[in-house]
């Protein structure tokens, strides 16, 4: 069985720290918002965990950023070939068709991941948006809400605390959706654990499917 080294160590560390932080942040966020309905932990504990993990996520983001920008892999892996838009759209539609139909009838995944072309077109757009827009926005809005006086200028630039809070919460809502979809899609390897093991070892054994 062919093995491809898809996930270097910094990426794997980043991914798992990110994953665990995300899940806990979503849950503590839920506890903070629904303090009157949920009693998993005290409000103070939830805020404490949420704040600590927020900073963990912030540092972790810089690991990703330094690795991908330092190695210039970001541009190869994350930037869709907008200079070949028609071809990109066709590939994206093929990928949609695969997930919606092909996978059901036993078609082969049209995307074959390599270290330089890790993501299929749908992943490429989704992860680019998540890493360049959603997570930075989540971190920035989180910082403003963490200390609205310290980050007053940032808050004003974003349109005020209510808008900041809205963005932070709206992204929280999006991640609640994304995390289930992402977790499910990670089971679509040649075995249900193939992609997950790959994210632990770094080696993807089966790259015909995603």
């Amino acid at each position: 069985m062919k093995k491809v080294y898809l996930h270097p160590l910094p990426v794997r560390i980043w991914h798992w720290v990110n994953a665990i932080s995300f899940i806990i942040l979503i849950l503590t966020g839920l506890q903070i918002r629904l303090v009157d309905k949920m009693h998993w932990m005290s409000f103070k504990t939830a805020v404490k965990i949420h704040s600590y993990l927020g900073f963990v996520l912030l540092i972790n983001y810089f690991i990703w950023f330094i690795y991908y920008f330092g190695t210039l892999k970001f541009f190869k892996i994350y930037i869709p070939p907008i200079w070949r838009p028609i071809e990109f759209i066709k590939r994206a539609l093929r990928q949609v068709r695969y997930y919606a139909y092909g996978i059901m009838v036993g078609d082969k995944n049209p995307h074959h991941p390599t270290p330089e072309n890790k993501f299929n077109p749908l992943q490429q757009v989704a992860y680019l948006m998540i890493m360049i827009v959603c997570i930075p926005l989540q971190l920035i809005t989180g910082l403003v809400l963490w200390d609205p006086v310290k980050f007053k200028t940032l808050g004003s630039l974003l349109g005020g605390l209510q808008i900041v809070s809205f963005i932070h919460t709206a992204l929280w809502v999006f991640y609640a959706f994304f995390i289930f979809v992402h977790m499910y899609l990670s089971t679509l390897g040649h075995t249900p654990l193939a992609h997950i093991i790959a994210m632990i070892t770094g080696y993807e054994e089966e790259h015909e499917e995603h």
Binding site: F43, L161, Q162, A176
Partner: protein
């Protein structure tokens, strides 16, 4: 012979004339003495005349007083011309005041006519403000030159030490008496009268007319302003000054500091407290329940008084005064003290304490009162509260009409829909924002500060969607306390709060409720996608097996 007879004749006429003259002179002197003796035979006794008003007038005459007065050589009837031996009319004055006015006219003005008084306009003007007797006394009339030779203050006090009054156009009576001992005990004891009353001098006493005491006092503020410019500038910004402009019974300089008895009160906290209590009795009662009053009554050097929080001259409406700043002014190191437990980990930043100090009043946690989320309309162009008067002007409605426009169904509670509608109505006229804060409902409760150990430390008292807060919509008024109208609390949980209440965010309390529902839907959507896709894959397993050549 004929010549001798003629000479004798002339001599006889001369002798006769001399005899007549000497006889006449002796007759006049005798009559004068006789007349005075006649009057004094009774008036040397302590006779008291009781007037219908109940006032008493002594009619005892001190001959020495008359002798030393400018009228020392006058006989009684020179002034009291309607009195003669055997003629003693009985006057029927109702009061001392009437007595003084009428006697001044009957007695003094017989010689000192208006025509003669006009030669000295100051004196003439004065004569129109008070009866002669008020300044010159009864029988001890001194030559005015005596006073002119003294100090300026003595000159003024010559008249003003007496119970002079000034009548306003509306009939109000103002005492213009200045008691020298009061003046000498005041902080202004080293000043001359004319330092304050600049338009007056020994040679100048303009006759002024005021509609009312209020109008008179309004001008009196300008006297203080001559020296106390800074204090006056501060005062002019205050809610008291605004109320005065509106014609309300608000304090001016004199109301707090008095007229001539101005004393230094900045070192006497009890005096400062008493000053405000004169009008703010309810607030004083509440304050007396506080830990602050306990300190004040124990004469603690760092105990606060009213002006410690509200300032002395630039007293502002409490919703814009930033009273929190006043607390911090005395409670130095309070940020550090709060920061020991009030911080957002992993760092203990003092700015996180500021977050709370800005969004909530100190009394929200340090008073056991009912709490409210208070929204105030702010004019974005100057970042100041939009007053009811200004809204009236902008909407071309009277104040009652404005309130009807906010509370459309008139149920005395502003519903969510009503508020957004009102804002949409107002927005084309002025750039507005709603500023929110957490505070106690009854501003007077803020005076009942409790001790530190009884203060709120539980975050969920506020950071909880079910926190016991009511909603209040606050409308500021010029020169008056703001009006708080009941408002649906869920206004702050509405999606419309995002563009309208931009900077008011309290974790949990102001959460946009619909986002919780969307969160659940999103999570369910994610699960539905996963299980839906998985389900389809399970259903389609036979197809895949068939394609792989299986069964």
């Amino acid at each position: 012979m004929r010549t001798k007879i003629k000479d004798f004749g002339w001599f006889s006429i001369l002798v006769l004339i001399l005899i007549f003259l000497s006889f006449n002179q002796s007759f006049t002197a005798t009559t004068f003495n006789k007349n005075n003796n006649y009057c004094m035979s009774c008036h040397r006794f302590s006779f008291i005349k009781t007037l219908p008003s109940g006032e008493k007038i002594s009619v005892k005459i001190n001959p020495k007083e008359i002798k030393n007065s400018v009228h020392g050589k006058f006989k009684c009837i020179a002034c009291h011309s309607d009195f003669l031996r055997g003629k003693h009319p009985s006057y029927k004055f109702r009061s001392k005041k009437e007595y003084m006015i009428k006697m001044s006219k009957i007695v003094c003005q017989r010689c000192h006519t208006d025509k003669s008084l006009r030669k000295n306009p100051v004196h003439y003007n004065l004569s129109k403000t008070a009866p002669c007797i008020k300044c010159h006394g009864y029988h001890n009339v001194k030559p005015i030159k005596v006073a002119r030779g003294g100090s300026e203050n003595q000159y003024c006090l010559l008249c003003h030490s007496r119970p002079l009054t000034k009548k306003m156009e509306n009939g109000e009576i103002l005492s213009v008496q200045v008691k020298e001992n009061v003046l000498m005990n005041s902080v202004h004891k080293k000043l001359k009268c004319i330092d304050c009353h600049k338009e007056f001098s020994k040679g100048k006493h303009p006759f002024r007319s005021f509609k009312s005491i209020k109008e008179y006092r309004a001008q009196a503020n300008n006297i203080c302003k001559q020296c106390h410019t800074k204090e006056m500038q501060q005062f002019e910004k205050s809610i008291h000054a605004q109320a005065l402009v509106k014609g309300k019974n608000a304090p001016d300089c004199l109301k707090c500091h008095g007229y001539h008895n101005v004393v230094k009160i900045s070192n006497n906290k009890q005096l400062q407290f008493n000053l405000c209590v004169n009008c703010h009795k309810k607030e004083a009662q509440a304050f007396e329940e506080s830990i602050h009053y306990k300190a004040l009554s124990e004469n603690k050097s760092n105990s606060p008084t009213c002006s410690s929080c509200h300032k002395a001259h630039d007293v502002l409406s409490t919703n814009i005064a930033n009273i929190n700043k006043s607390c911090i002014k005395c409670h130095k190191g309070i940020k550090e003290a709060h920061n020991k437990w009030l911080y957002n980990p992993p760092f203990t930043l003092k700015s996180f304490v500021d977050v709370h100090f800005k969004g909530a009043s100190c009394s929200a946690c340090h008073v056991n009162g009912n709490k409210a989320i208070i929204l105030t309309l702010i004019n974005k162009s100057n970042n100041k509260p939009l007053t009811l008067e200004k809204i009236s002007e902008l909407l071309n409605l009277d104040p009652a009409g404005v309130k009807e426009k906010i509370d459309l169904n008139g149920d005395n509670i502003i519903e969510e829909k009503e508020l957004w509608q009102f804002l949409n109505f107002l927005k084309p006229q002025v750039k507005i924002d709603l500023k929110g804060r957490l505070d106690i409902i009854n501003a007077n409760d803020a005076h009942r500060i409790v001790s530190k150990k009884d203060a709120i430390k539980d975050c969920t008292v506020c950071h909880n969607p079910q926190a016991k807060f009511v909603g209040k919509f606050e409308i500021n008024k010029e020169g008056a306390k703001p009006e708080k109208i009941n408002m649906e609390r869920k206004v702050v949980n509405s999606i419309y709060a995002i563009p309208n209440i931009r900077d008011f965010y309290v974790l949990g309390l102001t959460k946009i409720t619909i986002l919780d529902i969307i969160f659940v839907l999103a999570a369910l959507g994610g699960l539905a996608f996963a299980f839906g896709h998985l389900g389809l894959r399970i259903i389609t397993t036979p197809i895949r097996r068939k394609r792989r050549g299986g069964y």
